[in-house]
């Protein structure tokens, strides 16, 4: 393992029971510290499966996931400790509907990082101010718009002070006019040096923000590269086809 790799996957495979299709068919990849990696690909290509494998929401069938030097896919690893360092943002936000926004943000830091209520709330309010939602601290998720919910979901992950943020199609469930506010927040995070892995269909975001783009197809990484070479000079025919459709 190279020193500056925060996550590395080695020959990662996943097949679902009773299905001949391999969702992941030997994925070798790495994420460097401070890097923004965007994963694109057609639906069913395994890009979400790969992302969800990184924090073991999907259990790989075989292969290794090295996070900070530890193979977290191995038996008898306490995954909960490692997940605290990997923030995750979902397509459907998954905010806790029975809690206020402030409670959503503080429940994990208080119970898991053993922060005091004051400390956790101070941190949460500071982040809320940064995203301009501090006036919604006492609201419930159902009272927020989709874009606001997703920004809160990002803040909830940030409250755990993660080392890497995983985004699973964070703008796919949003109305078009709300996509911008979420992408802006993600750009801001990237600019601050957060390590990010993003599965998205937002090619503009990939071009502008990504350090590296991965193209997944049939459970493998078909092509990867810097956004410039990736979008302007794609080599694999599958990628050329895909880009012709989406651009």
């Amino acid at each position: 393992m190279k020193d500056n790799y925060i996550i590395e996957t080695i020959d990662l495979k996943k097949h679902y029971k009773g299905s001949v299709i391999k969702a992941l068919n030997g994925v070798n990849s790495h994420i460097k510290k401070g890097e923004v990696v965007v994963i694109i690909g057609p639906s069913g290509s395994g890009k979400s499966t790969l992302l969800r494998s990184l924090n073991l929401l999907e259990l790989p069938t075989s292969g290794s996931i090295i996070f900070n030097g530890v193979d977290i896919a191995a038996k008898n690893v306490n995954i909960n400790i490692h997940r605290q360092k990997m923030g995750m943002v979902f397509q459907h936000f998954n905010l806790f509907p029975h809690m206020t926004i402030l409670k959503n943000l503080t429940v994990a830091p208080m119970k898991l990082l053993k922060k005091s209520k004051e400390e956790a709330e101070a941190k949460a309010m500071e982040l809320l101010r940064r995203v301009g939602l501090d006036d919604r601290a006492d609201s419930y998720p159902s009272q927020l718009s989709g874009g606001q919910k997703q920004r809160i979901a990002i803040v909830r992950a940030l409250c755990m002070e993660p080392e890497v943020m995983l985004f699973d199609e964070p703008t796919s469930a949003l109305d078009p006019e709300m996509v911008g506010e979420v992408l802006d927040l993600m750009k801001q995070l990237a600019a601050e040096g957060m390590t990010m892995v993003v599965v998205t269909h937002e090619m503009g975001f990939a071009k502008e923000v990504a350090d590296r783009v991965l193209f997944m197809c049939d459970g493998v990484i078909e092509e990867e590269g810097s956004p410039e070479e990736f979008f302007d000079n794609p080599k694999s025919p599958r990628l050329q086809q895909f880009l012709a459709k989406v651009l």
Partner: protein
């Protein structure tokens, strides 16, 4: 005998109305505490069952001691559900009184135990339905923050489940209230038994039995209204 005379004979003479009051008291005590036991058992059983269902794959992969413990617990929970739901509550009550607690003579306590054990099976299924109805994204969000399975259950899932099943739970209370009418089988003077005692003493069936029925009906109607109010309030706080 006129209705008035019948009324006086059955309720006023010998202050027999007090029997009904005592009977109702016992009925409510048995129902309330049985439901408490039922809810406790129900939560435990439903968490075991849904934990097993949801984590089979993970545990099988990691193997080890925890998997076998969970497997045994799940088998035990299934057995409990099958036995309790497959036998009449009267038989369970009789077994509790004459076999399990053969030396105990506190009928009310035994009835609470028996009805609690019985209710637990039904409450477990109510809760399991509630747990299953929570979007899997809630589990994933909890787990992705670093909560383990049980922390996710306690902090994220169960509070939502309780809110979702509260009306159904109150209906279980109403069902249970009526089921306790067989407590007289083990010598407990509940509401039904009180009516029977009056009938045995006065040799007139109409007044005491109709009175018993009306009391049950009034209690159930009042409770049903309370459940309706509760449902409405829960719905309001939702949106």
């Amino acid at each position: 005998m006129s209705l008035k005379e019948q009324f006086i004979l059955n309720f006023v003479e010998g202050a027999r109305w007090k029997w009904l009051v005592d009977g109702l008291k016992n009925t409510l005590i048995i129902t309330f505490f049985a439901l408490l036991i039922g809810v406790a058992i129900g939560i435990i059983i439903s968490v075991i069952r849904s934990t097993y269902d949801k984590n089979k794959e993970t545990y099988k992969k990691n193997g080890g001691f925890g998997y076998y413990v969970l497997k045994v617990l799940n088998a035990f929970a299934s057995l409990y559900l099958t036995v309790v739901r497959g036998t009449p509550v009267v038989v369970q009550l009789l077994i509790s009184y004459f076999i399990i607690f053969a030396s105990a003579r506190n009928g009310v306590a035994v009835a609470i135990f028996a009805f609690g054990l019985n209710s637990g099976a039904y409450v477990a299924e109510i809760f399991r339905g509630g747990i299953m109805s929570i979007d899997n994204g809630q589990f994933e969000a909890g787990r992705s923050l670093g909560f383990n399975y049980f922390q996710t259950m306690i902090h994220i899932i169960i509070p939502q489940v309780i809110k979702a099943v509260l009306p159904t739970l109150c209906n279980e209370f109403i069902v249970l209230l009526k089921e306790t009418s067989v407590a007289g089988y083990v010598g407990v003077m509940d509401l039904t038994k009180a009516g029977e005692l009056i009938r045995g003493r006065t040799f007139s069936a109409f007044m005491p039995l109709i009175a018993v029925a009306i009391i049950y009906l009034v209690v159930v109607v009042v409770l049903t209204q309370l459940v309706k109010i509760l449902e409405r309030r829960l719905r309001k706080s939702e949106r």
